[in-house]
């Protein structure tokens, strides 16, 4: 019976430890993740013929979120950022970052 108790304690301790590590990693690492929704905004903009990052930024700002559209740039420092990419014929990767 003591064996089962130890096993149970070990499992619970592992879960707590994993949760703690996941929380710590989430806190340390910037939370930028690829989002089809962010990518869809870029596709829509390019379909409308917008190609300049500034124009696309203006177009995307209507979504009610903070927006950064740029080429070869880093994500903004925010708690949770959604990112999308679009690859142009000129060989540039246009990135979009959305955050609250």
């Amino acid at each position: 019976m003591r064996g089962w108790v130890f096993l149970l304690e070990a499992i619970l301790a592992s879960i707590l430890l994993l949760g703690f590590l996941a929380g710590l990693l989430g806190w340390i690492q910037p939370r930028t993740e690829e989002s089809p929704n962010a990518q869809a905004v870029l596709i829509q903009a390019f379909k409308l013929g917008l190609r300049d990052p500034e124009e696309i930024q203006e177009f995307a700002e209507g979504a009610g979120m903070n927006v950064k559209v740029c080429i070869d740039c880093q994500p903004p420092e925010a708690e949770e950022v959604w990112a999308g990419s679009y690859f142009t014929a000129e060989g540039k990767e246009v990135k979009i970052f959305l955050w609250r």
């Binding site: 089962w4 499992i11 879960i15 089809p36 990419s85 690859f87 014929a89």
Partner: protein, 168 residues
Amino acid sequence: MAVRGQFFILGSVFLLILFTSLFLLLPKEGEAGSRIGLFAENLKLEIPRAFNLDPDGLSGWTGWFRERVEERGIRAEVLWVYTLPQGRVVIGNFLGEDRKLRLVIDGEGLEVEIGDGEVQEIDRDLPERFELEVEGFLKEELKGGRPNLLLWFRLEDGKGRVQETAIF
């Protein structure tokens, strides 16, 4: 009785782990499809543009696009053929391996061996109207007096797949 209680606790913990794992592992409905669907849109929007910018640069662009997509865990297979009015037929293989392809131009077939990421060029007079086929991939009736670009591609990420042909 106390032992049975512990079994229940242990069982519930295992079930909790099992359901959490399943929830995390199962593909989220629509997400994978839309992700590769969006890259497919990107390809269809930009490849004719890259072709118009410089037909000779299309090979470099396709290779670059494939690398960027594969960095995101998506397997990309792309094949295109373009023809130019001066009688140039160019076929590009980005299928992920060297291939022997059978090209049929206006009923006349020829075998072409193309390395992965490479192109093969064929000089041939093109009539005003002709049929172009890459067996197993594309078949289309085209006009010889203008540039034509035919595209076949498949994007796959283990959770979903998009396969399409397009003519520009």
